[in-house]
Subunit: 155 residues, 10 copies
């Protein structure tokens, strides 16, 4: 039972419900909202699903755009506790990403550390994009992850 | 204890040992080998680590390049059983990728399915690249995943 | 706690409750409904249990047939998050299927890859049927899985 | 560490190694062997991988066909302890089958029990076949499971 | 969260509550009810706890005996989804049974398969009885399991 | 890695190997040995598989019968550490017993405690028998567990 | 979700709530209540927390002492299903006990079986006491477990 | 794979083997050795099984007593890494202790903290004894744990 | 489902909600409250989040400071049951601490025991501070843990 | 089975064995070596235990200091795969650190994010020190963690 210590602030689940309801009733897509607010669709969606925090200014812009009040904006600003329940995800779309980490994890370690030295790709100083490549043999998903390389240091 | 039913064929662990030893003693990088053999460094590394199979022609080219004999080439051709032991990986480089799946899994489902409809990104009809973006504030890792979209169908 | 980000749309559990109640009160079987709507009983049941999405047209046909309103149809159209709670299922009928995967998994890998090369059987571009073979020594269940073969590719 | 209490009898892992080595060196496929011995390729493979026992006559036929001696035949006759190490399999081909059980388990329970009453499909009085359906849009795997229905009984 | 897709039918938990309340208020034992209804106490209890289904006739007899209405009878007839939450049970009475399986599992496999050949004891075509053996040094529980032997078959 | 602190005494695995090899080469069954030594086949098998200890006299009788030396007798006398590796067993014969505990655990608790009061059936002061009931519709396995009832006491 | 099949009888959680509330409002300690009722504080507490059953007479005495009615007494008499949720407890006081079992489990097996022969210490025919040893360097907890030795027997 | 970073020092498993072999060949018991060396049998056994370290003087006394050389004494002095493999132990003697922690953990927390305030019983500043209480109805094991109470402090 | 046996006393979750709501509406930080009450911010926060108990005097001071009534003070005084649900935490901030324990656990054991002898750092007689080190290349978190060394003792 | 893809390079386990043996035979401590080589004892120990890589210059200095050859230096330079086997560590010294993360994880999140904003403390751009505080009431361990704060950023 993860707890966000938010006191009277609306919790992230209620916030997501209000945002998604408004988005559907207005016939909007994450992509449209993101383009109009000049942020990335992936980041916008993650903030609206409660997995990232927005600045007060971003939060107000999102809430205003969707016709929602300040309690939603406050909830967007709150720092989330990032919890997931399934160590191994079952939804096929998410599992395929997990499978990529399992199959190619050691490979990526070899290739990244050969290029950069001993260290990691940050998941915090990080961004991600989703693109669609149209193809007559079947469209393709292009997923781009961009993270700062953090080298290990001795001390 | 996963088993590759390979009979007398060299197993993938021995193959990887021979390949990596030759690579180190010749002072080669995955990138150089891949460029010379005109394949992707990520795919080449995954095949040499035993997580993908090569065609007989590719396998022969890799073995020849590294000065290794036909038993290595045969092992590269064998179809691997893809096993990983840690449901949650502990190595920090690999864990950060797992964390991205945990934090952004639902977000990617929203964004991909908004763009493509109900379905998934294939992890089989799939490729991946690693690039380095030099940056005075700290270089960045650019990871690009490219998978065919597979729609669910009714029947 | 899996979440379907559905906003005001009826969630899949409520949808299933309404569908099953109507089906029972009308004395219908999955097989009859499927035959009348010209879809497969397995697919129809999976959609009604919330594990697959229907097209708007299919959804409307199902809801109309059962005398249910548009909110049920909308819920049938929503893209499901496919979650199961038991990594090892306990219900004996489902466990026996899990046991088949455990006992015959490596065997199927050998036989399928011998026939098709390195690759997998898709669980997305996929259909399944259940038939009854009457037999005086005890009737038999015939389960037919039909999935597209997806070959691994180098890049 | 599962134990087969086989005393001096060759264990199943050594048996599989000998069988697969002979099969590869003779350039045979499971399908050819099965056809010549008039058994199913799936059953033959499972027995050779140590997940089913053969009758003494079948075992002798298999060993003779492959030019292997009586110790292999004895090992084929021994009753196996059926063990698998991964509650959730990681190899993509096997995982897809596991995913089918997860996604469609409740559906199959509904459809089978509607057709047959309360009970299960046996995984013991059971057979399975793999077929290839050629298709210009991509060949398809046809997997057929055939198990006796076992009804629950009161007492 | 196991789901019985029962629509409006009373769920098994409510059914059990009503049955046990009536049983206690009437001062009945499982043994008495079973004797009067001419069924086994173990089977009767398992059906009333929701782990087995009754025929409509049995269900009506049980409900009538306890002064409960038809909704309870319908719930007894529904096919249960058999779920247990603890892979390793903690209640000492149940754990001791689990311990017997752990300590004597391989032994029973040896002894049963020596007597019957390769196969299993069915848990579906199965019955069980509990008896009390009075003994001045301490009474003893006699538990008798009776299951059909199912032989493995090649195909 | 369970450890039996046996110093120079032969360990239980080696003991089992010698016993089973001798049993097979002499063409004996557990049942025959047990009958000749006037002990139960289940207990004899469990002692020979290393899950129970024998008295020095019993141990000598078993070793002599099988033509094995005193080191085997000593190993039979050593007190075993009872370890099993699979919390949920996978072998179908053993799993069916586990399933019986899962499906009928609460039922047995109800029925036993109704008969005996609050307490448990001992798994230590305990014996078990396997019998074969011949039946034209398929032979049946009869498994009889006999354990002392241990009542809870206040203090 | 463990279930006590108690029908209309107050469940153990509600019982514990009422008992603890009354105990706190009357300013009582477990020790005082136990002394006045001439039972052990450990047993009394375990019964009031729902992990042991009381006799009707004991239950009535406890309820009367605390000014609670017969429904509480009935709940104290009900036979509990003993469930704990954390295989490895996290509360530091309880974890230290778990650690003692982990660190000293094999040691206790050696020492107890050297003294008593092959067998176990019963956790059913069992009692436990907690004492305080005052010490200027820091008071000490003295925990005394007293269980009947149960020898293994052959049959 | 727990690692003791002991360099050339004999590891604890080899040490235990030598100690137990010598103990058995000399016909000694833990109790006798402990009495002669004026230490507790429980502590002595835990040190000899590798779960506690001895002082150099104690270690020399133990090695001398058993006729073992200085490498054994050095191994007794090494600080152990305390590892156990089974989160839930399966050996019945050890499981019963685990069960006591599960059933009585919350009770002990209540009773200890009522007596001592908020804090824990140390498992480090700790000792334990095993005694035998002879009883015509069956001997009893008396287990005494003695640990320093450590209060929580604010800061 | 961890249980605090608190009877009518407000539970720790409600207490935390009230405290955090008051803290936010008054625009306070943990640091300010701690400075004004002359306690450490880490300890104060842990008590307010329900993971430590306060003395009655501390509790009253905290409740008064925040304008909350005596029921909150009583809840702060109650001894907590310290439970966490995720054996491996997923929130990135908490996971990084877990990773430090995984990567450096054996190292810290080596370094601490070299300095202090065989023993541990107490997590009970323990305090912790968080400081901020401003740095133009990026501020740094300074975390200081201070625990009493507890040596193992023989007995 | 974690794999370091090191080809002919000495693996990290052999490296640690050689380093620790030399350290013990020369009577050195981690602290002395670290002081003489002007690095931190914690970092030095982690590199020698195989959980961090050294620069070629550092590696040569360490190997020279201990009288070990270049193969050890090469092994120190290799980038480690950081693996730990126990999700919940059992050694008491390491478990206490794990317990601190469990008990104080949410508290540290509150306190750090209040001071720094939404983000984490890096475990890569990170150092750690161990100090001893002598105290007549019992010496204390002072553990200091110093990690760069990494803020989350939108994109």
């Amino acid at each position: 039972m993860p707890i966000n210590f938010l006191g009277d602030i609306m919790n992230k689940l209620e916030m997501t419900d209000l945002i998604v309801s408004s988005k559907i009733s207005k016939g909007l897509s994450w992509e449209t909202i993101a383009k109009d607010l000049k942020v990335s669709p992936v980041w916008l969606t993650s903030a609206c699903l409660g997995m990232n925090s927005a600045t007060p200014k971003q939060a107000k812009a999102i809430a205003d755009y969707l016709g929602l009040d300040d309690t939603v904006a406050e909830a967007l600003v709150a720092f989330p506790t990032k919890i997931w329940d399934q160590a191994v995800p079952t939804d096929p779309l998410v599992y395929r990403l997990y499978e990529v980490v399992g199959v190619y994890g050691d490979t990526l370690k070899e290739v990244i550390q050969e290029k950069f030295g001993d260290g990691i790709m940050s998941a915090i100083d990080f961004s991600m994009e989703v693109d669609k490549i149209e193809d007559p043999k079947g469209d393709r998903v292009l997923l781009t992850l961009n993270g700062k390389f953090l080298p290990y240091k001795s001390w």
